[in-house]
Structure formats: structure tokens, C-alpha cells
């Protein structure tokens, strides 16, 4: 269901939700498990987002980190402290309530991924929405071809979802590669920019899709690596970041040229994004 089902002023009205779990990932990032009050169930796609409200402080868009197939009852938001709202959320405890509306955005086109090799490239906080995708793919692993996950972070301590990554690494059906920009021992994985990991990417390029989420600066370099691997532009999916306020394609903040990212995005194929001069 969509939480904001329309009606008298309902489109901007959040519903109440309860924090059922808090998991600290790094000094700036926590994962919050959230359950809707009154037994509501949030139906969403990987890489959709919700708008989180703390009344008196405001709203912010947060992408959903759990898989649509994980649980009926709750979903997870990975929240990094960057501003007032996120800082205030970090002060909350299990049992506290927040407002939620959404989900918004298009999400990853799972039907386009089915049956193909999948390359997933996550930079920094980009792993938050991509975790949803990775878990979704693992849930129905046999529907996809090879699955290669590349993860980059600034420092080892900044890596998100370490427990998930351990499980993924242990999972023979997917390949996971990590790199950090700066590291000291005992780090035993790669050091350097994420593009260095592409030498491990060996896919059926005509029949592969890529999903990329990371800081704005990352896209250009990563996309060019993927293109070098021979993937089609239309098979490379990016999830972009903009200031999102209303979520319903009205307030204008997330507009990139002619599209509203909150409605027409946040996932765009590189073919679409390339045409939008303000996108990359």
C-alpha cells in the first residue's frame, strides 16, 4: 500500500511508526527497524525511499535498506547524521515514534534485471539502498545470473553493513569485493578507488545490468568502467541524490532538468541520465 493514499490533505500526511530496533553501524550511521502503527504494511521496491518526519524538526528522504522480501512487518532505514533531523533521529530509542510517508520513487526495475548478470557498485552510503537490492537478489538468487558486488568506503571503519558483507562473502553464489581509500593494518582487502575493483568484473556484457549508487563524484568514473566492460547504456542503473522535500513531484527541489527525481527517479538508466545535463 502507499501510505499516503490521497484524500483530504493526505498526500503530505505521515503515518505513525515505531522504532523496533536500532543497530549502530559506524559512528555516524545507524540502522533503524521501523514498524508501522496500526498493523500497516509498507510495500516497496528496492531503492525506493520514504520520507521520515520528526514533528517540530521536519522531514527528510531516507532510502529503504531492507529487502522488499525481508519481512512483512517492518522495514529498515540506514540513517547517517548529516543534519538536524538525522541527528535527532539518532537520539531516539526503541519504542519511540516517528512519522513515515511513502514509499516514493520508482525503485530498481527488477523485471529488467531478471535472468541477467548483475553488477552492483556501492560507494559509501550508497550501500544503504543497494543492500535492499542485494538482499532481494539473494532471496531469489536463482532468477539471476552472476552477481558481483563492489563496495567502496573511505576507511575500514566507515564500511556499512559489515555483518551483511561477511554473510555475502561467505555466500558462494555471489562475489563481493571491497576497497577503502585509506587503510592501516589489519585491513587485508583492497586499498584505492573503487574503479580498481573492476578487474574482477567478468560478465556476459550483452546480457548484464549494473546498479550504481554512491557520492555524485563517483558516477562518472564508475560508469566509464562499466561501459568499458561493454554493457549497454540502458542497462546501467544509477540512483541519484537531490534535495527532496515533498516526494510528490511538486516542491521543485529535486528537479533535474525536466524530471522530478522523487517521482521519475531516483533510479535512472545511464541512457536517461546522460540526456539530463544536470544529472551527472
Amino acid at each position: 500500500m502507499s501510505l499516503s493514499a490521497g484524500g483530504y490533505g493526505q498526500n503530505m500526511l505521515p503515518v505513525a511508526a515505531t522504532i523496533t530496533g536500532i543497530d549502530r553501524l559506524t559512528d555516524k550511521d545507524c540502522v533503524f527497524s521501523i514498524r508501522l502503527s496500526k498493523g500497516g504494511i509498507l510495500r516497496f521496491r528496492a531503492s525506493q525511499f520514504v520520507i521520515l518526519s520528526l514533528f517540530g524538526i521536519g522531514e527528510a528522504p531516507i532510502s529503504i535498506s531492507s529487502s522488499p522480501l525481508d519481512s512483512e512487518k517492518s522495514f529498515e532505514l540506514c540513517i547517517r547524521v548529516v543534519g538536524n533531523l538525522t541527528r535527532a533521529v539518532h537520539r531516539l530509542s526503541v519504542g519511540d515514534k516517528v512519522g513515515i510517508r511513502g514509499p516514493y520513487g520508482n525503485g530498481f526495475p527488477m523485471e529488467r534485471i531478471e535472468g541477467r548478470d548483475v553488477v552492483i557498485v556501492a560507494g559509501g552510503l550508497g550501500l544503504a539502498p543497494l543492500r535492499s537490492l542485494i538482499r532481494h537478489v539473494i532471496h531469489e538468487r536463482d532468477r539471476y545470473g552472476r552477481v558481483i558486488v563492489l563496495i567502496g568506503a573511505k576507511r575500514p571503519q566507515d564500511i556499512l553493513f559489515k555483518e551483511d558483507i561477511l554473510l555475502w562473502e561467505a555466500n558462494p553464489s555471489i562475489e563481493v569485493h571491497l576497497t577503502v581509500d585509506v587503510a592501516v593494518p589489519p585491513w587485508d582487502k583492497h586499498v584505492g578507488v573503487i574503479t580498481k575493483l573492476f578487474r574482477y568484473v567478468d560478465v556476459d556484457s550483452l546480457n548484464a545490468v549494473a546498479a550504481v549508487v554512491g557520492p555524485p563524484i563517483m558516477y562518472r568514473f564508475v560508469v566509464s568502467e562499466i561501459l568499458n566492460k561493454g554493457l549497454f547504456e540502458g542497462n546501467i542503473y544509477l540512483s541519484l541524490e537531490r534535495r527532496m522535500r515533498c516526494g510528490i513531484g511538486k516542491c521543485g527541489h529535486c528537479q533535474i532538468n525536466g524530471i522530478y527525481l522523487c517521482q521519475d527517479g531516483p533510479v535512472l538508466s545511464y541512457m536517461e541520465a546522460r540526456k539530463l545535463k544536470e544529472a551527472l
Partner: protein
């Protein structure tokens, strides 16, 4: 939490303190949410256990620097309160004359009160955590500021210029009428009170984040003002020095 607040004043007209007392409708709620422990204009108690210090006025004497530093050391959060504290305000007009003249002009002799110094903003002496701009401060803004402190979130100032508020009120642009106005480079938050009452915006709230001063200068020159006149208008509240304190625009 019920923050403990101290209100202090240096060289100023104390109008910003008065603006707090002018919150007639909210004052009773306000004193429930915060504890004023030191507010000379309102109370006899002089508590030293304040966590948040609102500092009004500019620093114009050597001895005041020490006083200010003591406040800074005791306060977890120090707020420059009003234009005098924030950008120097009207006080800075004094700096254009040599020091000897200040004293002879006022007291007829130069040996008295000679510890007077060129006007400094609060941030010239100590670190400032937040700014509440304006001459005087906007009392609603003060209220929202205090609410933010109570809610333990970052107080935030508008990042747009006075024009936004002025136009939203349906005012006729003063510049369009051939008058000068600094509203286009001045931080909003005053609800454009001066242009609404058809007075020029003198920039008392300091500059916006990225003001196009060069263009405003050219526009006013084209309207027939001289460079000296324009500089003088900017100088009234020390506007060009008025780069604001911290305060981002994120959520």
C-alpha cells in the same frame, strides 16, 4: 532539558534584550522551558551557572574583552545576539574616526575613559556558536532559536535574502522606485519589516551566504547613486563585514 540561560550586554542600546521582554504572549511559556539565571535587565539574581549565553552588544573597551572571555569559558553555547554583537552594527561607525577624536568630541578631554578601543564584533574576541542577527533581533526568531536549543537541534537562519519576504508581502520594490535598498544581499528573517514600512533595508542582519554585491553595486550606480553613497549605506551596519556565523541550510 531546561537550558540555563544568561543574557549579557556589552556596548549596545539593550533593545535586543527588550525584544525578549516584548514576547508578551510567549514569555510565560518561555520561562517554563528555559531557566534564566542571569538577565540584569529583568532580574536581580546573578547566577553563574548558565549553559547558554546570549551576548548583546559590541566590544568597545579593553576590559570588556576579559568579561566576554569569562562568559565564553562558562557558557557551553555562546550566541551573538543582535547586530552589534554579530556584525558590530551602528557602533562601528565610530571606527571611521581616530580615537583621540572620540574622546575630545564627547568629553572635551582625552584622558578620561581612554580604555575605549575600536569596536569589535563578538567573534573578533571569542568563538561564537550561533548568531541571532538584526537591529533589533526579531523576537519570533529568538523564540524559535530557543525552541531549537530546547529540542537540541541546530537553530537555523534563513539562507535567502530579504527580497523573498518583501515580495511575498506584495511590496513594491524600493529600488524599482529609484531608492536604495540592501535587501537583495541581506539575510532574511525580519519579514522585510523596513521595506514593508517603506524604509530602506540597511542590511542590519548581515549578508546572505553568497551575495552578489558586485551586481548590486552596479545596479545602484546605474540608478544614479555614487560609489561613496553606496559604500556609506553598506557601512551603516557594517554590512560588508557581516559574513554570518555558522548555520548551514541542510535539514
Amino acid at each position: 532539558m531546561r537550558p540555563k540561560i544568561g543574557v549579557f550586554s556589552f556596548t549596545s542600546c539593550e533593545g535586543c534584550q527588550l525584544q525578549v521582554l516584548n514576547l508578551e504572549d510567549e514569555l510565560l511559556h518561555l520561562i517554563e522551558q528555559v531557566e534564566f539565571v542571569n538577565f540584569r535587565e529583568m532580574m536581580s539574581e546573578k547566577g553563574e551557572n548558565y549553559e547558554i549565553a546570549f551576548v548583546e552588544g559590541s566590544i568597545t573597551r579593553e576590559s570588556e574583552e576579559g568579561d566576554l572571555e569569562r562568559i565564553r569559558n562558562k557558557a557551553g553555547i555562546l550566541v551573538a545576539f543582535g547586530a552589534c554583537a554579530h556584525i558590530g552594527g551602528i557602533n562601528v561607525l565610530k571606527n571611521v574616526c581616530p580615537k583621540d577624536m572620540w574622546l575630545t568630541a564627547t568629553y572635551g578631554r582625552r584622558d578620561l575613559f581612554s580604555d575605549t578601543i575600536p569596536v569589535k564584533r563578538i567573534k573578533d574576541v571569542v568563538d561564537v556558536d550561533y548568531v541571532l542577527p538584526g537591529c533589533p533581533i526579531d523576537k519570533e526568531e529568538f523564540l524559535r532559536f530557543v525552541q531549537a536549543l530546547v529540542l537540541e537541534i541546530e537553530p537555523r537562519l534563513p539562507d535567502y535574502p530579504v527580497c523573498v519576504e518583501c515580495r511575498s508581502r506584495g511590496n513594491i520594490c524600493l529600488v524599482e522606485q529609484g531608492r536604495w535598498c540592501l535587501g537583495s544581499v541581506t539575510r532574511a528573517g525580519c519579514d522585510a519589516i523596513c521595506p514593508t514600512y517603506r524604509d530602506n533595508c540597511t542590511g542590519c542582519r548581515g549578508l546572505t551566504e553568497d551575495p552578489n554585491i558586485k551586481s548590486l553595486f552596479n545596479i545602484l550606480l546605474e540608478k544614479g547613486f555614487t560609489r561613496e553613497q553606496i559604500e556609506s549605506k553598506f557601512g551603516l551596519f557594517n554590512g560588508l563585514e557581516g559574513i554570518s556565523g555558522p548555520g548551514s541550510t541542510e535539514d
